[in-house]
Subunit: 143 residues, 2 copies
Amino acid sequence: MPLRGLLPEEIAAVDTMSTAECWRALNDAPFGRLAVGAADGVDIFPVNFAVNSEAIYLRSAPGSKLVDIAHSSSVAFEVDGADGEEHWSVVVRGIAERLIHDRDIHGSGVLQLKTVTSTAKHNYVRITPTSISGRRFSATPHR
Amino acid sequence: MPLRGLLPEEIAAVDTMSTAECWRALNDAPFGRLAVGAADGVDIFPVNFAVNSEAIYLRSAPGSKLVDIAHSSSVAFEVDGADGEEHWSVVVRGIAERLIHDRDIHGSGVLQLKTVTSTAKHNYVRITPTSISGRRFSATPHR
């Protein structure tokens, strides 16, 4: 087996995705992966999310890892999937902020529909993208 | 639609995975997602990788984003997949180091087989885990 097959490398994009394609992919993804700067390094974890007005919204329970966002507002968010043999990945880099006031939470447009729980119980986080990029690639090109 | 269905939250684990299960998942995953602290925030991108002796090895081309590791050696690495309706996610947090010397690259055990390209052309990175955790969860529990 050649070295190339043994020590894989960064995945080279076969094709890039338009911004519109990236947002469609974000809308359709069942979950995403949020990378944050934590007090003791970088952390990453799967999260559910909602998309509204080209921002990404998360809700976290009190005491959760999401409060690490307070250590650094710059975050990265990724969704990916497969379309047959072809995989795709969309990465959003942005600024995360906790929505402190009810008026911000309601003003976000995310709560336009009826609510059944108190917003006070949770942290609400909005990620405002500073960049969004998507790529398509072949899975396991080197293995 | 209730709030719960509109503003998703961190995914709650249905079950945790043993360390052995995590390593098996890492061995089988076609690609992973590396989160690094970059000069201008956190970044995340899909990477190919190899597993050897409970460490993760990456190779990157010169000038690639992986050199951002130089800004912070603490990284997070994630693989996930689905088994029917159930999804799983494994997160490795660890220390990344570039392998500078040929003896380290060869001593890693990753190059025991014949090589066809020069190691000088690439950056070789080893992630030594400081923690590894895995969880199983239902996809789209709130949507």
